[in-house]
């Protein structure tokens, strides 16, 4: 129980689309151990993104209980959720989502700024960038970096605040296979060497097979938790 980073209990999410209620998640329960690496798979419309949004504290469940790193987050206010995301969740998106006009360093500093970290922001951001192998690209803007490098910046940004979990949504979806492989190797090594809990949402069975556990979603339900 103590080393459970994620404890999801009967999570549901219902969207109101005009007159119709859409059950995107129909009661999902699972746990993730600290240091575990799991993949979430499922066809589109299976509730994959909804689950990912709930796990990343971007959204609140309609019912059910979600405990992240020992904190109940199902019923927090918007600002409290923002603070949880800031401290406990690191996001890596398919389309990188870097600020185009800011340097790599400034992009990585951003979560620290929202966390209210004052003096050693730049040092921590530089260390995070060095950790993903971009120590020599600190002052480049995203447009001056390759896709793989941009995703590395995004990973550095996700890690800079020492989160409890790393949420990766199709992290290699916009990359060619070579840099995709490099990014996955980076994520695997984070899991292996830093004991980082990683949740990957992906279509790619090749990637999913390398994780310890795969959650298959279909019609808002888990198929099996093998």
């Amino acid at each position: 129980m103590i080393d459970c980073v994620i404890d999801a209990i009967d999570l549901t999410k219902i969207y109101q689309m005009g007159q119709i209620e859409v059950r995107a998640l129909a009661g999902v329960s699972f746990k993730v151990r600290r240091g575990e690496m799991i993949a979430i798979m499922g066809p589109s419309g299976s509730g994959k993104s909804t689950l990912m949004n709930l796990l990343g504290c971007l959204d609140r469940p309609s019912s059910g209980e979600y405990i992240l790193d020992g904190e109940k987050v199902s019923n927090l206010s918007d600002d409290q959720l923002a603070s949880i995301r800031n401290r406990k969740v690191g996001f890596v998106f398919q389309s990188f989502n870097l600020l185009p006009r800011a340097t790599a360093l400034a992009n990585v500093e951003l979560p620290l700024r929202y966390a209210g970290v004052g003096n050693n922001r730049t040092r921590r951001a530089r260390e995070a960038l060095e950790a993903v192998g971009l120590g020599d690209r600190l002052h480049h803007r995203p447009t001056e970096l390759s896709g793989g490098q941009q995703q590395r910046v995004a990973i550095a940004r996700a890690l800079v605040n020492n989160p409890a979990i790393l949420m990766a949504d199709e992290p290699t979806g916009n990359l060619d296979s070579k840099s995709g492989k490099e990014i996955m190797n980076l994520i695997f090594s984070l899991n292996r060497d830093l004991d980082m809990t990683v949740i990957i949402v992906t279509h790619n069975t090749g990637i999913a097979d390398q994780t310890e556990r795969i959650l298959h979603l279909r019609d808002g339900l888990l198929e099996d938790s093998a």
Partner: protein, 408 residues
């Protein structure tokens, strides 16, 4: 999140859209420039008018017959004996000098030139009370008064039109209403005054005017100028004059049938009028500032829509409502602050230009860009930016991260 990085970030994102930012700023620039220029013109007008009232003389009171405020019937005119009574040292110790005047229009002619001008019938004290200087010759003296002498002092404009000169005119003879008058002096120019041009005027002895030029019953006068001994004595002098006139007219309880204005009263009235005028102009100019503010709101709304994804990302990595709010408010108030600063410069230029145009049209007038106008404009424009930034910023801050991230 402290404000320094927010400030730099705002500059960065504003400079990413230079043309758009510049056009938005332009709206504020025009508004602030208009406000500054209008306030400067208003304040300049006030100073010019106040200055011209002070130029009439110093420590003056003006005594008229009639009373605009009270309900009086059978108004008695002011007379020369009223003026003599006011000049009594023992009854009115605060009065330094008294100068009664009758005025009218007269046709003045010399050679082939003839035109109408203002005529003043005055006493010798008039020169000191009204602070007149002479370019040449001498002022009207007691001998002229006693003898109903046919002598005249020419105002500089009159001298210009009759002789094309302001010097060497003493001893010439001009005709007033067809009667010959000997020129004894030329007045120094005083410019426009509170009662119209004080240069287009001829002065003759009061007695001469009464008997031969202006139709008035007995020794009636139009206005009595009273000079107090000093500035502090002005109101005291007013009360002494009023007491003397009440006794002479046997007014005990009813309203006075005369009116006493001090120079300060005129200044106050003029300031009130120009003050209203300034507020009116400033108000019209402020409307353009308002329009500029709406421009800011418009652009900020566009910017929020364009940057929905960025806002979603910022929220995903931990930005609170307040952080997003501060970010967009910083941008909008920076826009309006820039506009305000540039606008102050432009407003100052416009004000100077108006001053130059006024000077070219022989109206001495100096626009005044006051510190308070600058502070007001800066504060007001920043407030406009903040106010019109609130709605777009609030909209950005209330975006849900999930939907914002999904936005294309």
């Amino acid at each position: 999140m402290n404000l320094m990085p927010a400030f730099f970030e705002a500059i960065q994102s504003l400079s990413a859209n230079k043309l758009r930012s510049a056009l938005t700023v332009l709206g504020i620039v025009i508004g602030v420039a208009a406000v500054i220029a209008m306030l400067a013109v208003g304040e300049g007008a006030q100073e010019t008018i106040t200055g011209s009232i002070s130029g009439i003389g110093s420590n003056l009171l003006f005594v008229f017959s009639g009373n605009q405020q009270g309900n009086v019937r059978n108004v008695q005119p002011l007379t020369l004996s009223d003026a003599d009574a006011i000049a009594d040292q023992f009854q009115a110790p605060s009065v330094a000098a008294v100068a009664p005047q009758i005025s009218g229009n007269a046709e003045v002619a010399y050679g082939g030139e003839r035109f109408n001008t203002q005529l003043g019938g005055v006493t010798p004290t008039y020169q000191t009370v009204r602070n007149y200087e002479l370019l040449e010759g001498e002022f009207i003296n007691d001998a002229h008064m006693l003898g109903n002498a046919s002598v005249v002092l020419l105002g500089p404009d009159v001298a210009d039109r009759l002789f094309d000169a302001r010097e060497g005119l003493v001893g010439e003879t001009v005709r007033l209403q067809g009667q010959p008058f000997r020129v004894i002096g030329v007045l120094a120019p005083r410019g426009g005054g509170a009662f119209g041009s004080e240069d287009n005027v001829v002065l003759v002895p009061l007695t001469t005017a009464q008997s031969r030029l202006v139709r008035r019953s007995r020794d009636q006068v139009d206005i009595i100028f009273v000079q107090a001994v000093n500035a502090e004595a002005v109101s005291q002098a007013g009360e002494e004059v009023a007491a003397i006139l009440r006794v002479r007219r046997r007014i005990q309880l009813s309203d006075d049938d005369f009116t006493i204005f001090t120079q300060q009263d005129f200044v106050n009235t003029a300031q009130m009028i120009t003050g209203v005028f300034t507020i009116f102009l400033g108000g019209i100019a402020a409307i353009s500032l308002l329009v500029g503010g709406i421009g800011i709101m418009n652009i900020m709304l566009v910017s929020v829509t364009e940057r929905t994804r960025e806002i979603g990302l910022r929220k995903a990595i931990g930005a609170r409502r307040r952080d997003i709010l501060v970010q967009f408010l910083t941008e909008s108030s920076l826009l309006s602050l820039f506009g305000g600063l540039i606008g102050i410069g432009f407003g100052w230029l416009i004000a100077q230009l108006i001053g130059i145009i006024a000077a070219a049209n022989q109206t001495p007038f100096r626009p005044v860009v006051g510190l308070n106008a600058i502070l007001l404009a800066t504060l007001f424009s920043t407030a406009v930016g903040l106010f019109f930034g609130i709605y777009p910023a609030n909209r950005a801050a209330s975006l849900q991260p999930v939907e914002a991230l999904r936005h294309e």
